[in-house]
């Protein structure tokens, strides 16, 4: 049974990502300018499980990474309040995939700001299930305002 049936409305108001490419589902706790704990949308009925892999579904690591990136965007937006219409361009990823997750796993996302400016940020990121760490590392992106960025 999934205790978190819908995406938080606040997420939709804060980051530009939308289904079917929205993997951030629920915000557990937020410290603006510091850190975030959130939950990934890991829907066991998602189409990608049909192919990744037939008979042995594994949550794609790239989607866990994308969920971490979206959670980072959320923390950035809550801290910096960039203009509406801003784009987030992933620029730096240094991570390790440590364990696999299944469609039944609840995946927790933990984000901590390492360095932030109005045009971008570097984060320490971690994803885990109840029993295992899945992804750990560092992620950085640039936030491009609607007016553009050199």
């Amino acid at each position: 049974m999934n205790p978190m049936p819908a995406v938080d409305a606040d997420i939709l108001q804060t980051i530009p990502h939308r289904p079917p490419f929205l993997f951030l589902k629920h915000i557990e706790s937020l410290k603006e300018g510091e850190s975030l704990t959130a939950w990934m949308d890991n829907d066991p009925k998602a189409a990608h499980y049909g192919g990744h892999f037939p008979g042995l579904p594994v949550t794609p690591g790239v989607l866990i990474l994308e969920a971490l990136a979206q959670a980072s965007c959320y923390l950035f937006a809550k801290t910096i309040h960039p203009p509406i219409g801003s784009q987030y361009l992933l620029g730096n990823v240094k991570i390790r995939f440590l364990n696999t997750a299944s469609p039944q796993d609840k995946i927790q996302l933990k984000i901590k700001i390492e360095r932030i400016i109005s045009a971008g940020a570097i984060f320490n990121i971690c994803a885990r299930t109840e029993i295992a760490e899945l992804v750990s590392g560092e992620l950085g992106f640039i936030c491009k305002s609607p007016k553009g960025l050199r």
Binding site: L89, G91, N92, I117, G120, A121, I122, G140, F141, I142
Partner: protein
């Protein structure tokens, strides 16, 4: 700490982030034009320099970080004094 030592330490940071040979990175090398440093790498260099020298740089300083000489100018005397 003298300027040459500071240049070497910053060049190592720039080399790691840009994945360019450290020997190619001189004090007055234009980081953007010669090494292709973009906005993301600029932020990474800023953060790397802050950690390396235990200083805090201002966001407004980023445009001045076109060369290692420019970065040293931002670091000022406190880094040299810190040894």
């Amino acid at each position: 700490m003298n300027d040459a030592e500071i240049v070497q330490r910053i060049a190592k940071i720039v080399s790691t982030i840009s994945e360019k040979d450290e020997a190619l990175i001189k004090a007055d090398t234009d980081l953007r034009d010669a090494l292709g440093i973009d906005s993301m790498m600029g932020l990474e260099i800023m953060y790397g320099v802050e950690k390396e020298f235990k200083v805090h740089l201002k966001e407004d300083d980023l445009p001045k970080m076109r060369t290692i000489t420019g970065i040293i100018g931002l670091l000022g005397d406190k880094v040299k004094a810190a040894g």
